[in-house]
Amino acid sequence: MTPDRTIRQPGRWAVLAALVVLAVVMLFPFVIVTLNAFKSPAEYSSGGPLSLPHGLYLDGIVAFWNRVDFGLKLWNSLLISGVVAVAAVVLSVLNAYALGIGKVRGRLWILVLFLVANTLPQEALVYPLYYLSKEVGLYDSKLAVILIFTVIQAAFGTYLLSSVLGQFPRGILEAAEIDGASRSRMLWRIVVPISRPTLSVLLIFFFIWTWNEFFLPMVFLIANDNQTVPVALGVLQGEKMMDATMSSASALLGIIPAVAFFLIFQRTLTRGVTVGAIK
């Protein structure tokens, strides 16, 4: 560490203190929600939100879990986000192979089209999608949401991956071609393995972005059996039957998976967060 001039000493601690205070403010809701999710309603009204819970009162969490069948909601979210992530990465790779390496004619326009699609508000698609999904019998099904988000995420993935594959070392591909490798062999045996780090960042981003979505899943997933975690929590918010500690428990159940993903994927995410910056 650099030796500091002694005159600066008080100032240096003041800056740190200010930043720590701000960090505490940012984390405050997480702490409050966690504290109060483990209290009984009586404990909450007598001790207030800042008191430490006496022991672990789990009734609020259990009651909320059972009421919304939270295990099923987690599974729905996991299934939808997982399938979308894999399918969107596959589509992005296929597109980027044609655009970035194949350099097909008109690629610039195709890329602009994908980029515009990614910036379009979902409100401008929702009603026709709603209408069409009813026509083909896909309304209120996980498949409808999976299809829609696969395309939306792949639009972004194509845009990103095309520029990455545009820089792909030509020599390797030319050598493979001389050896008589077919195009699909070159894609799966050379391009995909070499771009694996980028693909894994995309996979994780697609998973988390899909997990976090609210608007379209809320419109398309009506049945309790189909809803995702954010939809179930968002729709129930502010319902009269919820008391203070049960509301807190519901917030905690929404926070836990999100923070868990953050901790699990932290390394990949900090490596790739500038990648996600384009979104």
């Binding site: 560490m1 240096r12 809701p29 929600v33 044609a98 009603y127 026709p128 709603y130 926070i255």
Partner: protein, 300 residues
């Protein structure tokens, strides 16, 4: 990208690569292009969602431009751009510079990373869950904030302060994103720039203005663009926290179109709102990219 033909001279034609685009183009057509065009077409009709839409030309749009709620919803959008793009960018710049150029040097990289993680944590939440958290914290009767500070404020139910409350929540939610992006951007700045400035006796503020900001301009553009688009699209927090109310104190275009689609069954009118919103977002994106392009040209 390499210029056309450079290093790509191959005996076989390029036609075969088109095949790889086919699955996406089919899905893309069915899920983006056709629905978007249907939405635009519906905006010229009166339609309840069942039966045949009735063609009414530009009536929805003339009605829209006279609708006070529509204009109010855009004013609220501007307020949310301030809360989600402008304020987080300004505070985020100062925080990133303080962490990178001060805390990391004097207290070590671990302290800086821990603080960065604390600022970023709200960003990992689904935005609807962030709404659930604050809906609970700010509940007028049992909410933690009123209980702790002994207040009786109806944060989200009082039309005079509801929008300000939503703005504050969005600052909390959004702040970590610019901090992380800007700190990542600062990694690629040549450390000798800072060292030279420090030897010359430049104050922290001068280094902030003359090194940090110019060096991470590309990141500032990206953050402003993405956050502005996110603010224009904002739906989840409004749905969860206020449903556009009280009255229409926190109405935004996305929620206004949703209301017309699914509750008032004014599908034509909802489509017109959504089309205008889409147009604004595309134009904003285009303008940002143009400004950024010019900025880069004048740099080089």
């Amino acid at each position: 990208m390499a210029p056309p033909g450079a290093g790509t001279a191959r005996p076989r034609g390029r036609g075969g690569y088109w095949l790889y685009l086919v699955p996406s183009l089919v899905l893309f057509l069915a899920i983006i292009v056709v629905p978007f065009l249907m939405n635009v077409a519906t905006s010229f009709t009166r339609w309840s969602g069942v039966g045949t839409p009735k063609w009414i030309g530009l009536d929805n749009y003339t009605k829209l431009f006279r609708d006070e709620r529509f204009w109010a919803s855009f004013q609220h959008n501007v307020a949310l751009i301030v809360a989600m793009a402008v304020v987080p960018t300004i505070i985020g710049l100062m925080l990133a510079a303080a962490l990178f150029d001060y805390i990391a040097k004097r207290f070590g990289g671990r302290t800086a990373s821990a603080l960065r993680a604390a600022f970023y944590l709200p960003q990992v939440l689904p935005v609807a869950v962030a709404g659930v958290v604050w809906g609970w914290m700010l509940h007028p009767s049992y909410g933690a904030v009123n209980q702790i500070f002994g207040l009786e404020v109806n944060w989200l139910g009082d039309p005079d302060i509801a929008l300000a409350t939503v703005m504050a929540i969005m600052v909390w939610f959004q702040l970590g994103y610019p901090v992380v992006i800007f700190m990542a951007g600062l990694q690629r700045v040549d450390p000798s720039l800072y060292e030279a400035a420090e030897i010359d006796g430049a104050s922290w503020w001068r280094r902030f203005w003359h090194i940090t900001i110019p060096q991470i301009r590309p990141e500032i553009f990206v953050v402003l663009l993405t956050c502005t688009i996110a603010a224009l699209k904002v739906f989840g927090p409004i749905f969860v926290l206020t449903r556009g109310g009280p009255g229409s104190a926190t109405m935004v275009p996305s929620y206004f179109s949703y209301l017309n689609f699914f509750q008032k069954v004014n599908v034509g009118y909802g489509s017109a709102i959504a089309t205008v919103l889409a147009l604004i977002i595309v134009v904003v994106t285009f303008l940002f990219l143009r400004v950024q392009e010019r900025d880069q040209e004048s740099e080089s």
